[in-house]
């Protein structure tokens, strides 16, 4: 009799637990789907209640953020990202990974460049001496061919004290892509002068050579066209442009050698060609 009673009691225990588990499971499914925003904590509230455990709460909040954005179909959830990152930044300002990962999720997974930039801007505000976030912002803009804005971020990244040398090169390259050839030229010159390795020097030289050629070409081609309009023919050589007062001096390439000019097409080309674009 006693054994039966015991069995019944344990059986009841298991059944009741299973029932409660099922209810909870259903509730969780509905609750979490409709109350995602509940997990987006106002930063000051969370910091106030952190009781000195800001770092670990930031860590767990970040881990939760990764899980939150891991499921497929981010959709509207990406809108919460800046608030989440503000809170993490408030708790642990030096924790940069959430911002870089958040930016990556927004830019590459959700396709929301605006949110990605917002996320990285928040990170930069909390950690103004960090270069990775500025670099990431520049990268995402560069991918979308928004070179002018990318230039701004790469400038920030390149100016950070501990930023790697390659960033200056990327910045110089973006300057060229955004159309500012002369600024790009100055940057590459600076890189060349401060280069610590032969490789850096070589890369800088290649860029300097080709940018000078591009700048000279850009300047000369309209002048050659103008000559043709006046004289009905292309100049015989670049010296003729000089002697007839169209140019103040005969341009040479970065090595000081004359460009190769085709009087039939009026086109100039450089003696050397480097793979640089």
């Amino acid at each position: 009799m006693r054994k039966t009673k015991t069995f019944v009691l344990y059986f009841l225990l298991i059944v009741l637990f299973l029932i409660s588990f099922l209810f909870n499971y259903n509730f969780k499914k509905n609750f979490f789907e409709t109350n995602e925003a509940l997990y987006v904590f106002p930063k000051k509230t969370l910091k106030l209640i952190s009781l000195g455990f800001e770092n670990i709460i930031a860590d767990f909040y970040y881990i939760w953020m990764i899980q939150f954005y891991s499921s497929s179909g981010i959709g509207e959830r990406i809108e919460y990202l800046p608030t989440i990152l503000e809170t993490i930044g408030e708790l642990d300002p030096k924790f940069s990974e959430p911002f870089t990962i958040g930016g990556m999720i927004a830019a590459l997974q959700a396709g929301r460049l605006d949110i990605a930039l917002k996320a990285l801007e928040i990170g930069l505000r909390y950690e103004p001496y960090e270069w990775t976030m500025a670099m990431d912002a520049g990268y995402y803009l560069r991918k979308r061919k928004k070179y002018k804005k990318a230039f701004y971020y790469y400038e920030i990244a390149a100016h950070r004290e501990d930023s790697p040398a390659f960033l200056k090169r990327v910045w110089a390259d973006i300057a060229w892509k955004s159309g500012d050839l002369s600024f790009s030229y100055e940057l590459w010159k600076n890189i060349y002068n401060k280069a610590k390795t032969n490789y850096e020097k070589e890369v800088a030289y290649h860029h300097l050579y080709m940018i000078k050629f591009e700048m000279d070409k850009k300047r000369l081609e309209p002048i050659i066209e103008n000559f043709k309009n006046i004289y009905g023919r292309f100049p015989n050589d670049l010296k003729e442009l000089y002697y007839k007062g169209f140019i103040k001096m005969i341009p040479h390439d970065y090595d000081g050698d004359p460009y190769i000019y085709n009087p039939e097409t009026g086109k100039i080309r450089s003696r050397k060609r480097f793979l640089w674009k």
């Binding site: 106030l48 952190s50 009781l51 000195g52 800001e54 860590d59 881990i63 990764i66 990974e97």
Partner: protein
């Protein structure tokens, strides 16, 4: 010698208690679990391990300081072992001091054990001993001292449950007040501002002892800051200890 005898006895009783064993086992288990948690992030796994390790050790310190102090003191009264001591030529102040020293020793030994466990574990999973956490562990010890003093104060005048709640409340308010001031001092006025400042200055400021959030980045605590925090903490702990001696002086032991 009398105070040492009481301290030794308190330490022995503390480390033999089930509560101490449970707290230590769970803390070590959570420290070992930190590696699993660190796998959920991309590149800051080491940071997670250090943050989690420090958080666990601090929580352990808080719980040990409050629960063991309250429990042991209450047990003395409940089981009347206190009669054996107070009937001897020992003043109540010496009794409290002996208890405090015994609990401090318990706290110190546990923190050393947890610190060593953490360092060795961190060495196996991250390749570093992270020895820079040890100054923070010392500050955890000072924090624990303050909570032990408060627990003794509350237990000498109140029941164990209320004492635990009050002591935990002190920890909460002590951490809460600095952040509250940071955000709201400029916004509150008059009596509220006065009250907030009174709470801030009268209650312990645990934020002064808390460098664990910066530690993972700075890899150390400036000596001046460390000494500042230690002196403040020990001074405050002794202040509350004296208060508990005064409170216990006239307490009726039924």
């Amino acid at each position: 010698m009398k105070i040492v005898a009481i301290a030794k006895n308190t330490y022995r009783e503390a480390v033999r208690s089930k509560l101490f064993l449970l707290l230590t086992i769970f803390s070590i288990a959570f420290i070992l679990f930190s590696k699993v948690v660190s796998l959920l992030v991309i590149s800051s796994g080491e940071k997670i391990i250090v943050d989690l390790g420090l958080a666990i050790i601090e929580i352990f310190t808080i719980l040990l300081s409050i629960l063991i102090s309250v429990n042991l003191f209450y047990k003395e009264r409940d089981k009347r072992t206190i009669f054996n001591i107070l009937s001897k030529p020992i003043s109540r102040e010496q009794f409290i001091l002996g208890k405090f020293l015994g609990l401090s020793l318990t706290l110190f030994v546990s923190l050393v054990i947890l610190g060593v466990v953490f360092s060795l574990y961190a060495l196996t999973v991250t390749g570093n001993l992270h020895l820079y956490i040890f100054p923070q562990l010392l500050l955890f010890f000072v924090e624990g001292e303050i909570l032990v003093s408060f627990s003794l104060l509350f237990t000498s005048v109140s029941t164990p449950i209320l004492s635990s709640i009050f002591s935990l409340g002190i920890f909460v308010v002590g951490n809460f007040s600095s952040n509250f001031l940071l955000y709201y001092e400029a916004k509150v006025k008059g009596v509220v501002k006065l009250l907030v400042n009174i709470v801030y200055y009268v209650l312990p400021n645990f934020s002064i002892l808390n460098y664990k959030n910066q530690l993972v980045y700075t890899k150390g605590i400036a000596l001046s800051n460390f000494l500042n925090a230690t002196v403040y903490g020990i001074d405050y702990a002794l202040l509350i200890l004296v208060l508990s001696m005064i409170a216990f002086r006239n307490r009726e032991i039924l």
